[in-house]
Amino acid sequence: MFRETMLFTIPVAISLLISRLVFAVPDDPAGTELRMLVYAGTACFSALLFVPVGAPFTARSLPVLLRLCAVVVLIFAIALGVDSQTRAAIGQIVPLAMMLFVLLIAILTPVFVFHARSSEVRQIVFTVLAILFSAPVWLGPLTEQTGNTPGLTNLIVGVSPLSALAVSLDVDYLRTGWFYKHSVLGSLRYEYLSWTGYVLIYMTFISSLIIGTAKFEYDRLFNLLRNKVVTS
């Protein structure tokens, strides 16, 4: 179990450090909230990318997952503590931690549900997540072309897990420097979904997958048992 935990957490930590280097703003003493959002997004992707191939799907995975989330939250807490400008955000660590946990579960559940340490499912899930995370950038022009229809704009903002993290951090990330330059959404009218709204949506998604898994497992075991009875 310790080995599994390390297999999860070391790649996550490496990804966080790399992303910190890539997205650092050297002359900005404030430590932008955007960087924290990128760290969180990288952590979520990392958990998916570095899931050990071939590891058995057992009931021990849940405690491992919890340990992973605890480590990620701890890393964020340290990052927030070192950065003097974001110490005020420590008060938001609980919603942030919750949202990270929910997002990690949401990302990993498809992998677990389909017993998939297989590369194909990982790639599909990763691709879908990459598309969703980056939706505010590449889907922004669509909102402009359609005249900034409020429903469409808010939908595009809402589908990105970055928005969920931003809401938990109480940060208008679409108007931070990088996004304002690369996404048209910052110049349009939009609203973020509420934090509780995001939690409900993701928990519903996870619950659906778990129920689906239970049904899948039930059918699989039922057929297995029936075949055994028939052959015997």
């Binding site: 002359d27 003493p29 404030a30 208008d172 990330y173 108007r175 420097g177 349009l188």
Partner: protein, 362 residues
């Protein structure tokens, strides 16, 4: 004979005085155009009346409500709170969205913008009972301003700037709005907020003599924020140049100051109302440009502007003709070519346009 002479003299004096009065009223804008502009204002305000919600708001937005209210209060009709619910309800709507930190707004987004335009609108009522609200709002904007409290030193490009309020990235557009709100609510000239803001405003200008940033060019115009223009690189464009000029004036800089003259010269060199000069495609932020152009020219004080080709322009006539040509049949205005910066919203664009005409009619 003597009686006839007296009467003739009296009539002459009367005509002379009437002529003076008429000339004073029509100073700047041609009289016939002035009447048309007033009619356009009335039609715009009529549209706003029809689009106003039952709670007095427009587009369910504190910011748009404040701008619409300002359009009414500063119009030639001289509307005030005694005129009825269409004035008092939007005030109540804004007051109902006062937050604990002194900001005014229905959302965490656009806190600076909403608070600043609300301050301008409340100040325009002339009612002293809003002084405490204005004082709290001033305090909010001061703490929003980037300075040592956020860990920035004077040498940093962001120092003195003000952003949307949801993050710490400042920009000249939000800074000018905040300064307008602070000036409208009569913040003292010696308040440090002005000096700090001047640093940021100067660092947003393409004028290397007063901008210590390496990227600064020398056309005298302004860019969106230090080191960035949405039109590419650090290029100057009309909306921000007018905003920068207005910001300098708000901050108490003398009209003859080289920074102001450089900005005015950029406007002279790029004078047009056919598009937002220097912007990508010229249509983005067009009505924002019209609005801030009118206010900046009114504040600068010269009715006649000579462009760098030697042509004279009466900016009051020009902006009035332009806005009249763009007004829709229902009295509204809208930017059909770009929804950026909310210019696809009829309430907002109509409010901006009426405010522009109000400034030109001053």
């Amino acid at each position: 004979m003597r009686t006839t002479k007296t009467i003739t003299m009296l009539i002459s004096i009367t005509l002379f005085l009437g002529g003076i009065a008429h000339a004073a009223e029509s100073k700047g804008m041609d009289p016939e155009l002035r009447d048309k502009a007033k009619r356009a204002v009335d039609e715009g305000l009529h549209f706003l009346r029809t689009s106003q919600s039952d709670d007095g708001s427009w587009s369910n937005s504190v910011g748009i409500t404040a701008l619409s209210l300002r359009a009414f209060l500063q119009s030639h009709r001289g509307y005030n709170e005694s005129d009825g619910a269409f004035i008092t309800r939007p005030i109540d709507f804004m007051l109902a969205h006062i937050n604990e930190d002194g900001s005014i707004g229905e959302t965490n987004l656009n806190r600076n913008y909403n608070t600043a335009v609300s301050m301008t609108a409340l100040a325009a009522t002339g009612n002293k009972k809003y002084d405490e609200v204005l004082s709290d709002a001033q305090a909010f904007l001061r703490q929003l301003q980037i300075d040592e409290q956020e860990g920035y030193e004077k040498e940093h490009a962001y120092y003195g700037g003000i952003g949307y309020g949801g993050d710490e990235r400042p920009d000249l557009s939000n800074a000018y709005m905040a300064l307008e709100g602070l000036r409208a609510s009569a913040v003292d000239d010696d308040d440090p907020v002005w000096e700090k803001a001047l640093l940021f405003v100067s660092r947003s200008q393409n004028r290397s003599e007063s901008n210590d940033q390496e990227w600064a060019a020398n056309d005298g115009g302004f860019t969106y924020m230090p080191g960035f223009s949405p039109n590419g690189g650090t290029s100057s464009y009309g909306g921000m140049t007018a905003a920068g000029l207005l910001s300098l004036l708000f901050a108490g800089v003398d009209k003859d100051d080289p920074r102001i003259q450089a900005a005015y010269d950029w406007i002279r060199a790029n004078y047009t109302l056919e598009h937002n000069p220097g912007s990508d495609g010229g249509v983005q932020g067009l009505y924002y440009y019209y609005n801030v152009f009118s206010k900046s020219m009114a504040a600068y004080g010269d009715d006649i502007l000579m462009d760098t080709n030697g042509n004279e322009h009466n900016w009051r006539n020009d902006i009035a003709r332009k806005l009249l040509s763009l007004q829709n049949e229902d009295g509204s205005w809208i930017n059909p070519d770009s929804p950026r910066w909310w210019e696809g919203n009829k309430d907002l664009v109509t409010a901006w346009s009426v405010i522009s005409l109000n400034a030109a009619l001053q």
